[in-house]
């Protein structure tokens, strides 16, 4: 014995509801297959409904005058134990007949309004969208020497930045050239990209005189390295939110035409962290420690003639946009070889961006006159733990070196932690 329910069918090719006009049976009545059990009125006509079951009526599930949606059960019938169980083969398995369980009549129910999905279907397997690609000759023909793969906006960008796409290696999913590739090609990093492996030189050695910029760098490095006790600390941080923020800034109208990179966020983060850890933004003289209440932010810049560190004066009073523009200007000036000594003096704290070279982290040497230098490493997709699950996040290592005469371990750690927390959550900058 089981209870069978008869869902209101669509009797007219796409009807969505009907009104129960009159019942011809009542609870307790015995009914047979095809016996008329009620009259319904639809948008098209008045129709008699025949019973699909044989058994005893237990309940009328709708009253006369009710408007019922197609698919809603209208009557419950206690079906005799021996009645054939009528199901569509792919319906879920039903309980055995004598548990008193319900079963629903498998029905070609009309679609009506409720047929529209209210949610997306879940992807059972977490895969990328299925390729609609036409494989064959298209792939065959696209050899690297024949053609350059890049989306139209990237081609436009390359044109604007004066980058020859033929010299750029694409790192996109399909081997195409991405925005980062173009920007990277246009930036100072391209100066040092090893594009080709040179031939073995014919002489056994080459002697380069030590003078000019090279001599100055060497002197400064030695002075810094052997007077200040250098301590380096490192923090790995999930930079995904910073990357998202950078992407949004790039798309924003206000930042159109301005280069926005994670370096900008790092700069802001450092400025913010400096406010909370003032000691890192100071200068050691043998008599006193001068704590600066302004930030002249140095950016290590690679030029063909060597490493220079021009700084952005009063970076702490700049808006995000102004800072972005200042960074861009500084880099361009350095590339052109036009950086002035004034630009390079009175820096209070420095960032060195080794990430553009593809380097994860390092132990940078302090810029003479400063007690802190922060290294921004490459930002790569790595496995990370979020809510106890391993997910793919964009991770970077923030490395920083401090002068231990001024900055103790706890201050150093707090400072680096502050920087890292901004990289992890740029919204902290709203402080």
């Amino acid at each position: 014995m089981s209870i069978a329910k008869f869902p209101l069918p669509d009797v007219g090719e796409g009807l969505t509801e009907a009104e129960i006009v009159s019942w011809k049976v009542a609870p307790g009545d015995k009914v047979s297959v095809n016996q008329t059990i009620c009259e319904i009125e639809t948008a098209k006509s008045v129709v008699e409904l025949p019973c699909p079951f044989e058994g005893e009526v237990t309940e009328l599930l709708a009253a006369e005058g009710d408007t019922v949606e197609v698919g809603s059960p209208i009557i419950a019938v206690n079906v005799a134990g021996n009645a054939p169980i009528l199901t569509e083969p792919d319906a879920p398995a039903k309980e055995p007949a004598d548990t008193g369980a319900e079963y629903k009549l498998p029905t070609l129910v009309g679609y009506g309004d409720s047929g529209e999905a209210k949610s997306r279907r879940k992807r059972a397997v977490n895969t990328a969208p299925i390729s609609t690609a036409i494989p064959v000759a298209m792939v065959r023909a696209a050899s690297a020497s024949d053609s350059v793969l890049a989306k139209p906006p990237i081609r436009k960008l390359a044109k604007e930045l004066g980058v020859n796409l033929a010299n750029v290696t694409g790192t996109g999913v399909h081997g195409e050239i991405t925005r980062e590739d173009v920007v990277g090609a246009a930036s100072q990093a391209s100066v040092f990209k090893n594009l080709t492996t040179p031939d073995v030189p014919s002489e056994r050695e080459e002697r380069i005189p030590v003078k000019g910029v090279r001599k100055a760098i060497a002197t400064a490095m030695v002075k810094s390295a052997f007077t200040a006790p250098h301590v380096s600390i490192f923090v790995d941080v999930d930079a995904t939110r910073t990357m998202e923020y950078v992407k949004r800034l790039r798309n924003s109208v206000d930042f159109a035409g301005i280069k926005v990179t994670p370096l900008l966020i790092m700069a802001k983060a450092i400025i913010w962290a400096v406010r909370r850890n003032r000691m890192v933004n100071s200068t050691w003289t043998d008599q006193e420690i001068i704590v600066h209440n302004f930030v002249n932010l140095g950016l290590a810049a690679a030029t063909p003639r060597g490493l220079i560190v021009p700084n952005i004066k009063d970076a702490d009073s700049m808006s995000l946009l102004e800072l972005a523009q200042a960074i861009e200007q500084l880099a361009a000036t350095a590339r052109e070889g036009k950086t002035t000594p004034e630009d390079m003096s009175n820096g209070t704290i420095t960032i060195t961006n080794i990430g553009v070279f593809g380097v994860d982290t390092g132990t940078p040497i302090l810029n003479p006159g400063e007690v802190s230098i922060v290294a921004l490493g490459s930002i790569r997709k790595k496995p990370w733990v979020v809510d106890d699950e391993i997910v793919v996040r964009q991770v970077t290592t923030i490395g920083a070196t401090f002068d231990h005469r001024v900055v103790d371990g706890d201050v150093a750690s707090r400072f680096v932690q502050d920087v890292a927390s901004v990289i992890e959550e740029p919204a902290l900058l709203l402080d």
């Binding site: 069918p9 009797v11 090719e13 006509s45 008045v46 498998p106 070609l108 279907r121 879940k122 992807r123």
Partner: protein
């Protein structure tokens, strides 16, 4: 009844009727050769006529119920037309080809087409996948009149094959093309009559005039009685009482034989009535008189034939047996219908072309891959 002047049997249009509504048999003057065709029938054959009429009616009623229970998207009832369909169906020869429209379920069973084949269409499993060559019963055609041209083309092919007029009943064949009164208005039907006539094709056009095309009565579709429709094209015709199974049998047999022998095309109008709705989506109470329907219920083909058979001495046992067979058939149809599975999704792409086609292969593979990675709605 003035409005129905030329469609009731009581008027003056010549019509073949062998079996009156009250069950009396008689051959009218001038129709002797049709009577002769009946004389050749033995009791078994007559019982078969009855059995099949009752069977198809029981099937029809069950199909209506199944639709009302949500098991079929649609059903097209042929209630009231059993005489025309069973009678003409048996008049068709065992080599002949049949081109139905979409209501000739009775004709289908006279040539061994499985009833479930028809139901599969209505359940949305296919568009009618039975084998037309094997059954010689072609697929249902939903664009009215479109199939009549196909029937004519087929008949032209039969003629090209030389299978007409050889007197060889095992090899020669003719074509019968069914349509309703509504379809006769379609241009394709006029073109069919034309092509059939100028090519002297071996074809009989069988018009089941059930007097209603959804809600348009037959006056909307024609100004003259439909048996005259072919005259302008050179296709002679006759009217039979559509509810007289014997008249339908005789007329169809005689004229299919003649077409097979090379007499050219012919048109039979079977004057009957659509007792039921156009389909289960239709409500005839909105456009026709109950009185009219009752008039035609009095002229039911099965009732009058039962009277006739009983007068021949066939008794209760037979009629009981037929009723039980009908109920068993209904139960079987019901169970089979519930068990019909949804076709696999590849079916969307099968048989679009006979030859391989790159787009079809690509899209089929895509849908398979897509469905494989999709779960249920969240």
């Amino acid at each position: 009844m003035g409005k129905l002047a030329f469609v009731t049997p009581a008027n003056s249009e010549p019509m073949l009727q062998l079996l009156a509504p009250d069950g009396t048999y008689g051959v009218p003057k001038g129709y002797e050769r049709y009577g002769a065709a009946i004389d050749e029938l033995d009791e078994d054959k007559l019982k078969t006529f009855y059995r099949d009429m009752a069977r198809i009616r029981r099937f029809d009623l069950e199909a209506i119920a199944l639709q009302r229970q949500g098991q079929l998207g649609l059903w097209v009832p042929a209630i009231g037309q059993e005489g025309a369909q069973i009678g003409s169906g048996y008049g068709v020869g065992h080599n002949d080809h049949i081109f139905p429209s979409y209501r000739e379920h009775g004709v289908a069973i006279t040539h061994g087409v499985e009833l479930m084949s028809i139901l599969k269409m209505m359940r949305g499993v296919n568009h009618g996948g039975w084998n037309p060559e094997e059954t010689r019963y072609h697929l249902y055609a939903i664009v009215l009149g479109s199939q009549v041209l196909h029937a004519v083309g087929y008949a032209m092919g039969v003629k090209l094959d030389g299978k007409v007029g050889n007197g060889d009943l095992s090899d020669d064949l003719a074509v019968i093309s069914y349509m309703g009164d509504g379809a006769t208005a379609e241009g394709d039907v006029s073109e069919s009559l034309l092509f059939a006539a100028v090519n002297e094709a071996p074809i009989v056009f069988f018009v089941q005039n059930n007097q209603w095309a959804i809600s348009s009565s037959v006056e909307t579709q024609t100004k003259v009685p439909l048996y005259k429709r072919g005259q302008g094209f050179g296709v002679p015709g006759m009217r039979v009482d559509g509810n007289d199974v014997l008249a339908n049998y005789a007329a169809t047999k005689i004229h299919m034989d003649e077409a097979r022998e090379g007499a050219g095309p012919f048109l039979i109008e079977a004057l009957t009535y659509r007792i039921g709705a156009h389909t289960t989506s239709d409500d005839p109470t909105k456009y026709r008189d109950e009185a009219e329907v009752e008039y035609w219920r009095q002229r039911d083909p099965i009732d009058r034939f039962e009277i006739f058979l009983r007068r021949q001495g066939i008794g209760d046992d037979f009629f009981e047996e037929v009723k039980e067979a009908g109920d068993a058939l209904a139960k079987d149809i019901r169970e089979q219908t519930f068990a019909l599975p949804k076709p696999p999704l590849e079916h969307i792409f099968n048989n679009v072309y006979s030859d391989e086609h790159p787009e079809i292969e690509r899209q089929k593979a895509w849908l398979r891959a897509y469905e494989d990675q999709m779960g249920e709605h969240e």
